[in-house]
Every structure is written in C-alpha cells, then in structure tokens.
Amino acid sequence: MATKKLRRAKLSQELCERLSRYQITTCQDFLCLSLLELMKVTGESYRNVQKLLRKVSLACAPKMQTAYEMKVRRSINPSAAFLPTSLHSLDKVLHGGIPCGSLTELTSPPGCGKTQFCITMSVLATLPVSMGGLDGAVIYIDTESAFSAERLIEIAGNRFPTYFDSDEKLFCMTRSIHLYRELTCDSVLKRIKSLEEEIISKKIKLIIIDSVASVVRKEFDTKLQGNLAERSNFLARGASLLKYVAEEFSIPVILTNQITTSLSNGLAIPADLVSPAHDLSLSEVTGASGSGKKESACVTAALGNTWSHSVNTRLILQYHDLLTRQIVIAKSPVAPFSTFFYTVEKSGLVLQVIHS
C-alpha cells in the first residue's frame, strides 16, 4: 500500500509529473512530508494541500469494518478458525487449537520435541475437514535440516492408522507437504516474500518455519556493534510479511525458536519485567540438573523483546523429568497460563496426566 504510485491515487497527471521532478512518486513519499514542504513542491495553497492529503490518504487507508461484521464472517465458517492439534486438553484451553490468521511460536531447549510437533501438525493439516484437518498443502521451511520423511510416515501411520490404511493415502499426504531447505537469512526472507504466490498456486493451508532462531543466531552476533539493529530489522520485516500472509489467507503460521540464557556478564533482566512462564522454565532446568541454586540470570526465549511482541501465541516446551516433558501456554490472547505433560512416542506427541 505504501508503495502505491500517486497516479493511482487519482491525482491529476500534471501534478504527478511535477511531483516526480522532486522524486516524489509514491504515497509513502507524499505522506512523509510536512505541510509546508508539500506546499512548496505542489505549489498549491494551504487549503488545497489539505484536500490533496485527504485524497492520497483515502488511497492508502484501510477499509473500515465493524466488530460485528467480523464476528458474522467468523461464525459462517467456524471450522476455519483453528487447526486442532489433536492434543485434546490443549485444544480445549486454546479454544480450538492453533489459531488461523496469526503467528504461533514454539520455544524450547534442544531435544524437547519441536520438530516432532511440527511434523505432526503437517500431517494434521493435510487431513480432510471432517477429521479436524484443513484439507490443504503445507509449506515447511527447514533451516536445520531436521525434517525426516520417514518419521513423517511413522507418525501418520501410528496416529491415524484407520485413515492411512493404504500406501496410496500416505503418498498423497506426502505429496502435499512442500519442503524447502533454506540455510541463510537472505534466502529465508526471499522464500517468505514468495509465499503469497505459492499459497495461491498450491492451495497451502499451513506454513511452518523450523527454526527461525538457528538461522538468525548463526548470522547475527549481537555482541558486535550494529548487528542487533540489523537483526531486529530482519525479524520485524519477516514477521510483518508473515502476518500479512497469515491474515490475508486466514491460515496458521508456526515458527520455532530456541531458549537462551540471559546475558552473562552481570547484566540481567529484572525478574519483575519478565513473564512468569520464563521463571517456570528456569526452575525446571535447575531442578533437572540437580543444583538447587537459583541464578540471577534467567532463561528466556531467544530473538529478543521485539520478536516477542510480534508473535501472537507462544507455547513453551520443556523437560519435566527424564521421560515426560511439559508444554506451557505462555502467551495467548484467548487462553491463560496452563501446563500439560506429554511424552514423545511413535505416534508423535501424546498427552499424559501426571498425578502429583
């Protein structure tokens, strides 16, 4: 919208030519100038410049809808609002499952089951709507080369044995999962930019990026000057593109992240400004390793504060004891903090009930 040319904003031809002499060709250039500057470049009086501003704004501004219209649109198609994770207690608390049209982040220390969860979600998205799926294809952007097709088939066969009873069905499912191996930040961003066209041509219903953190942390060393700003820039741009795609096509987007210990040389974020979910994960980690001392640094999701604002839902996976792990809903607009225990088995993630 910002790069819309002024010609399309219904300004007169001569005005557009005059403005292009000052290098003002898009709505963005026009709206960033102050009123006096606009008077100078357009040569119009104060009142006329205000009228022009209104015209250009009309070309850029979003359309109005009332909350009621949005609700009616949702209720016409309720099943399209969530992708159930097949973990029933989790789905109930999340009001249906992973929400469509927003970004969901999965954070955990290594080995907790993020990739397993992502593979399970890929299978679920290809299932027909009657079984709780989205009946569509999946784009899986893999930056760690952790995706295993054999595991995909194993999970599908064990989790839905009655549905995947023939090889034909399995192959059909695997054909709809499009895997892209991207190893640099640049290529990831390029891939995200190309998503819009791919979604339309391949009828994609789920986007997974596993993992954002590994590729970003490989390339940006935040101890170096200027890298922090560049990293935030890259993440913010990626996040806004993904949000646009998620909302436009009303599909869920799942991203995975890593855990980081907060800064080591004495700099620590005061506990009262970090959410309780982060404190929880700290106590679990020290419990498992046997040391009872609590450190002043705390364990948080990587990629910084700005990224935490960009994602709408955040699920944290962590170790509980040797076999069981837990999944915590750390941030969600519809659900409060909740914890569920699970183990990783042949059929993927399976919820357990722990009696303390």
């Binding site: 704004s57 850029c60 207690s89 005061p270 400004l273």
Partner: protein, 371 residues
C-alpha cells in the same frame, strides 16, 4: 489588516509574485481588488479572486481572535474549565483499583498510553475499554462508540464478544437489583450485536496506512459523532523497523501526537495508545523502558506501565497531571455464571488446569451510580 503578505497561506508561486511586485500588507491586497491584482501580477481574474477570498478569511479570523471571540484558539477561565472537567465522564475499566489510581477511569480529551511487556494484557484492556465506552449513561457510562485501529493483528473478535457478553450480564444484574425504569429501557438497546456493531475496526499494516488513517480520522469522527474512544493498538510496531532515518521517525511521531491531541479535544473523546517495551543497556544492568524514544514520552498525558512481579500482574501509574504515582495488582480473569465477582484481597495468582472460557474483567466491583 496589517498582516504581512509573506505569512498568508497562499501558494508559494503566487506569494513570490506578490512580493516581487512590491505588495507588503494584506490591506493593500484587499484595496486593489481582483481585476487590478490580475493586471498587476499577470494572473487570471479567477485566481486573483480566489487569493483575495483566502486573504479575507484569514483577516476575519485574525480579527475574531484579537476581539476575544472563538476561533481556532479557545479562551476560557479556569473556573469554566473546572466545571467542564467535573461534568466530564470517564470510561471505567471495571477494575476498581485501576479506576481509582486513574482518578475515575480513562479520561476523555486526553491521551492515555499503556506500555508493557509482551503478553501482559494491553490488548485485553483495549478491548475492554472499547466495550465499556458503550455502557449507557444510566449505568454510569458515557454511551459512546469506539474506533479500534489495529497494527499488530491482535484483536480477537471472539474475545471481544465474550467481554461484551459479560458487560451486558453485569448491567442486567444491576438493573435487577435496582429495578428502575430507565435501566430496563437502556438494556433493550444494549446487547451483544449493538456493542459489536459500534466498534469500528481498522487494520493498518504499516506506518503509511496508519498515518493515512489518522489524517482521515477527523472526517470519520464528524460523520460518527458518537465516538468517544479511539484506540491505537500498537503504535510502536509499525515504527520500529525499516526506519533508517530516525529523525524522520521522530518528526512523523510528533505530527501523529499533535493530530491525536487535536482529535481528542475537538471530538471530546479519549485516545488510548499501546506501546511496547524495549531493552536499554545501562552501566550494570539492563532495563526495560517504553519504546519509541524519550521524546515520545511527552506525547501522552497519562502513562500506565503494566509489568510482572513473580506471577502477579501489576499496573503502575507512571505519569499523570492529576493523580499520584501508585501501583496496583490486577488479574485477567474468567467470567462464567456465578463466579463473577472477585475481590482484590482474594486474588489468587495460581491458575488451575480446568479453565473455562477466558474473559478479561480485572476485578469486578458492584458498580452502582450512587456509590
């Protein structure tokens, strides 16, 4: 009348010609008349007439200002202002502690900024306010409508519907307790559909759309004169990336703040903005501070910071012209049937596993107009 020609809001080319021809004051222009002007400067008669109309309007405005009448600057005594402030309504948040520290609720004609870490409840409070602004006057509300400008995509219609249902239920309970005629009448039009239909939602994806929308807001508000609340959820998000020129960002933000103040005053509505927190590295520690820089801190009249203390959410009133700094605890609670009222003293910070549909109404108190 003696106004200098160079200060008139004419187009720059015309102004340059007038000055070159030797005109100095507005009086001279008016005396010359359109025909004389067009001959002297070499412009068409229509252009000369238009210019003279602008000049006349400006001078009339100046004269009115010097005579003490109402023009673009308003003049009144502090007593009139006091009376106005006392009769002004507040938008209640239904959290008595929060309303208390704000001095009654979110004030109209002022900009309130809510800062906080991710996940602390900023969007929840904005949705709550968008519903509470519509409470009818007999229940103590301002009976207005709401504009919700969303830059982050965090507005959830289902959640807003839940909050609206809870609010209607709450008002119904009050009406049952008091059994007054106007309460029951107001309840007929105060329903879930009407509440949701009066929340006007705009989704702005980048800062240009946000700027364009704010330029168009005064016209929108003139058409929808019952709007009493403008929420911009996420004023920081579009400005925090893709900006190499920080001075441009400061200029745009200042312009935005100016326009919002004008909107708040002219249309007697409250403007609520939510801001993010960013890390600032000090000598020995890093702190979380509100984003968008120091100069943005001046834009808002009232600033609330939401943060955590272990598992308890706290709200701190950080900046206010009339109330003192204080901190209160609050909770984002569930609302289901009889489990409605939760006293501040009985707040538990543990969330159990079996959770019902999740609603935001931080600490309800029995709201009664006579209290």
């Amino acid at each position: 009348m003696q106004r200098d020609v160079g200060s008139l809001p004419l187009s720059p080319a015309l102004r340059a010609r007038l000055l070159a021809a030797g005109f100095q004051t507005a009086q001279e222009l008016l005396e010359t008349g359109p025909c004389g002007l067009s001959k002297e400067i070499g412009i068409s008669r229509e252009e000369a007439l238009e210019a003279l109309q602008v000049v006349r309007q400006e001078c009339a405005g100046d004269a009115a200002k010097t005579a003490g009448g109402s023009g673009s600057t308003r003049k009144c005594t502090a007593l009139e202002l006091l009376e106005e402030e006392q009769t002004q309504g507040f938008i209640i948040t239904f959290c008595s502690a929060l309303d208390n520290i704000l001095g009654g609720g979110v004030q109209l004609t002022k900009i309130t900024e809510i800062c906080g870490a991710p996940g602390v409840g900023k969007t929840q409070l904005c949705m709550q306010l968008a519903v509470d602004v519509q409470i009818p006057e007999c229940f103590g509300g301002v009976a207005g409508e709401a504009v919700f400008i969303d830059t982050e995509g965090s507005f959830m219609v289902d959640r807003a519907a839940d909050i609206a249902t809870a609010c209607v239920r709450h008002c119904q309970l009050i009406a049952e307790a008091h059994q007054e005629e106007d309460h029951l009448q107001a309840l007929e039009t105060f329903s879930l559909e009407s509440i949701l239909s009066h929340i006007y939602y705009f989704r702005c994806r980048d800062y240009i759309e946000l700027l364009a929308q704010v330029y168009l807001l005064p016209d929108f508000l003139s058409e929808h004169s019952k709007v009493r609340l403008v929420v911009i959820d996420g004023i920081a998000f579009p400005f925090r990336h893709d900006f190499e020129d920080l001075s441009l960002r400061t200029r745009l933000l200042n312009g935005l703040a100016q326009q919002l103040i004008i909107i708040a005053n002219d249309h007697k509505s409250a403007v609520v903005l939510t801001n993010q927190m960013t890390t600032r590295f000090g000598q020995n520690q890093s702190m979380l501070v509100p984003a968008l820089g120091e100069s943005w801190g001046h834009a808002a009249t009232v600033r609330l910071i939401f943060h955590w203390d272990n598992t308890q959410r706290l709200a701190t009133l950080y900046k206010s012209p009339s109330q003192k700094e204080s901190t209160i605890p609050y909770n984002i609670t569930l609302l289901e049937g009889s489990q409605e009222y939760q006293d501040v003293s009985r707040l538990t910070s543990k969330f159990t596993g079996n959770l019902c549909p999740f609603l935001l109404v931080p600490v309800l108190h029995s709201f009664c107009p006579s209290c």
